[in-house]
C-alpha cells in the first residue's frame, strides 16, 4: 500500500534533530497504544512510551529508532516527536548499555531516597534499550 502523499516526520531529542524527512508512514508507541501516522492523520497530541518508532516506506520498515519517552504532535501534514532520548536501533551498543546498566544498579543501592526514582527510571530505559536491540 503506497501512501498518496508522504507525511513530514521529525524526531528531535534535547541534544539534536535526529530525523527530518518525508516518510510514508511512521508508527509511534503512544501512551495509549501504538499508532501509525500517515498524511491527513487527524490532529493529535500524545505522550510517548519508551519503545521503538518504526519508519515505513511502502510496506517495509525502513528504520527503527529507539525512544525513551517523550511527546508527539501529529497534524495532517506533520508528525513531530519530542523524545527524551533517541537512538537508531542499529546504533545501540549492547556491551556499552549493559555496562551502564551494571553501574546504574550499583547506584540504585547507594542512591538516597530522593534519587531512587531517577535511577530506577534510567534502569528501565536501559533495559528497554536492550530489549529493542535484541
Amino acid at each position: 500500500m503506497a501512501a498518496e502523499q508522504p507525511i513530514e516526520f521529525e524526531l528531535v531529542s534535547p541534544a539534536k534533530l535526529l530525523v527530518s524527512e518525508p516518510v510514508d508512514m511512521v508508527v509511534v508507541p503512544g501512551a495509549e497504544g501504538d499508532f501509525g501516522a500517515m498524511y491527513r492523520h487527524s490532529p493529535l497530541i500524545s505522550a510517548v512510551r519508551t519503545g521503538v518508532i518504526r519508519i515505513y516506506e511502502g510496506d517495509q520498515v525502513r528504520q527503527r529508532i529507539f525512544v525513551a519517552g517523550g511527546f508527539v504532535e501529529v497534524t495532517p501534514e506533520r508528525c513531530t516527536v519530542l523524545a527524551e532520548e533517541a537512538m537508531p536501533v542499529e546504533d545501540i551498543d549492547r556491551a556499552a548499555v549493559e555496562a551502564e546498566l551494571t553501574d546504574l544498579r550499583e547506584d540504585l543501592g547507594a542512591a538516597e531516597d530522593g534519587q531512587k526514582d531517577t535511577v530506577a527510571r534510567k534502569i528501565a530505559v536501559r533495559e528497554a534499550m536492550l530489549a529493542a536491540a535484541a
Binding site: V12, P14, E32, A47, T80
Partner: protein, 299 residues
C-alpha cells in the same frame, strides 16, 4: 625615567602575559566551536516544544483547574530570577552585563513592592550578586558544565524550580541569560518561565497556523491535563538546557574576544616599551660619550 633593568623586566612580564592570553584565546576558540554546535543542535527541540505547548495551552485556555504553572498563581508578589552566567571570569563584560540587567530588574521589582528571590546558576552570578543582594539568593549552582554539560544538569535545576513553585515559594519565574548571537555579540535575554508565556506568533508560526487551521481540534492521549502536567516541567528543563547551552557558547565567544583584545593590547604595550627601552639605551650611550669627550677636552 625608569632604569634599563626595570624596563627589561616590564617587557618580559608583558610578553609572558601575552603568551597566556593568546593561549586562552586559542582554547576559547576551540571550545566555542563545540559549544556553538551543541547550542545550535538543541534549538529545534526547544522550538518544537514551545510550539506544542502553544497548541496545548490554547486548547485548555480559560478552563478550570489548569496547572498553575501555565495559568499562574493568580498573583505576582514573589519573583524568582534565575541568573545564568559562567563559572570563570576573564571573559570581558559577559557576566557583568547579566548582573547589571538583574540589578535593574531587582530594583524595579522592589520599587513596585514585589518580593524578589534569586537563583544563581554559575559561580560568577553568585559572586556578583552576593554583595548587594546576598540575602535574596536562595540557591546557587556551579560547575554544571563539568565534565560536560548534559541535559541532566538542566533537569536538576528545573526540578528545583518546580519544587519551589509547588511549595508556593514564588509566583513568577524569569530567566536571565546571555543569548549567543555571534562570537562578538551576546545578547542579554529575559525569558519568563513560569507561568508559561505563550510565544508571540512570528511569521513562520503564522504560516504554520494557516495550514493547521483550527488548533482546538487536537485529540489528546491521555487527556490535556495529564499531558500538560508532564510537559510543563519538561519544558522548564528544556528551556533551562537551552539557556545553559547558549550561555556556554556565549561565554567562550566573549572570552575569545576579550583575550584577542588583551593579546593585541599586550602587543602594543611591548612595542611602546621596547621603543622607550631603546631610546633610554641610546640616551645613556650618548651621555657616556659626552662625558668622555668633555673629559678629554678639559685636559
Amino acid at each position: 625615567m625608569s632604569s634599563l633593568k626595570e624596563l627589561r623586566n616590564r617587557i618580559a612580564s608583558v610578553k609572558s602575559t601575552q603568551k597566556i592570553t593568546s593561549a586562552m584565546k586559542m582554547v576559547a576558540a576551540a571550545k566555542l566551536r563545540r559549544a556553538q554546535e551543541s547550542a545550535v543542535a538543541a534549538r529545534p527541540y526547544a522550538e518544537r516544544m514551545e510550539r506544542m505547548l502553544g497548541s496545548l495551552s490554547s486548547a485548555v485556555q480559560g478552563r478550570e483547574g489548569v496547572s498553575p504553572m501555565l495559568s499562574g498563581t493568580g498573583k505576582e508578589d514573589v519573583h524568582l530570577l534565575v541568573l545564568v552566567t559562567s563559572d570563570r571570569g576573564l571573559c570581558g563584560g559577559f557576566n557583568s552585563s547579566v548582573a547589571r540587567r538583574a540589578r535593574r530588574k531587582i530594583s524595579q521589582l522592589l520599587s513596585d513592592g514585589k518580593q524578589v528571590k534569586l537563583m544563581c546558576v554559575g559561580r560568577k552570578a553568585r559572586d556578583l550578586m552576593r554583595r548587594d543582594h546576598g540575602d535574596k539568593i536562595i540557591e546557587s549552582y556551579s560547575e554544571l558544565d563539568r565534565p560536560k554539560l548534559t541535559f541532566d544538569a538542566a533537569d536538576q535545576v528545573a526540578d528545583k524550580i518546580s519544587e519551589l513553585f509547588d511549595a508556593g515559594e514564588f509566583d513568577v519565574c524569569t530567566l536571565i541569560y546571555n543569548k549567543f548571537q555571534s562570537a562578538i555579540a551576546q545578547i542579554v535575554t529575559e525569558q519568563q518561565l513560569v507561568p508559561f508565556a505563550i510565544p508571540e506568533a512570528d511569521e513562520s508560526d503564522e504560516a504554520a497556523s494557516d495550514t493547521e487551521a483550527d488548533r482546538s481540534v487536537y485529540d489528546f492521549e491521555p487527556d490535556e491535563a495529564e499531558i500538560l502536567d508532564d510537559l510543563l516541567p519538561r519544558n522548564l528543563a528544556v528551556q533551562m538546557f537551552r539557556a545553559l547551552l547558549e550561555n556556554q557558547a556565549g561565554e567562550h565567544g566573549a572570552r575569545m574576544t576579550a583575550m584577542d583584545n588583551a593579546t593585541r593590547n599586550a602587543g602594543d604595550m611591548i612595542h611602546k616599551l621596547t621603543l622607550t627601552y631603546n631610546r633610554t639605551r641610546q640616551a645613556m650611550i650618548t651621555k657616556e660619550l659626552i662625558e668622555i669627550i668633555s673629559g678629554a677636552e678639559a685636559l
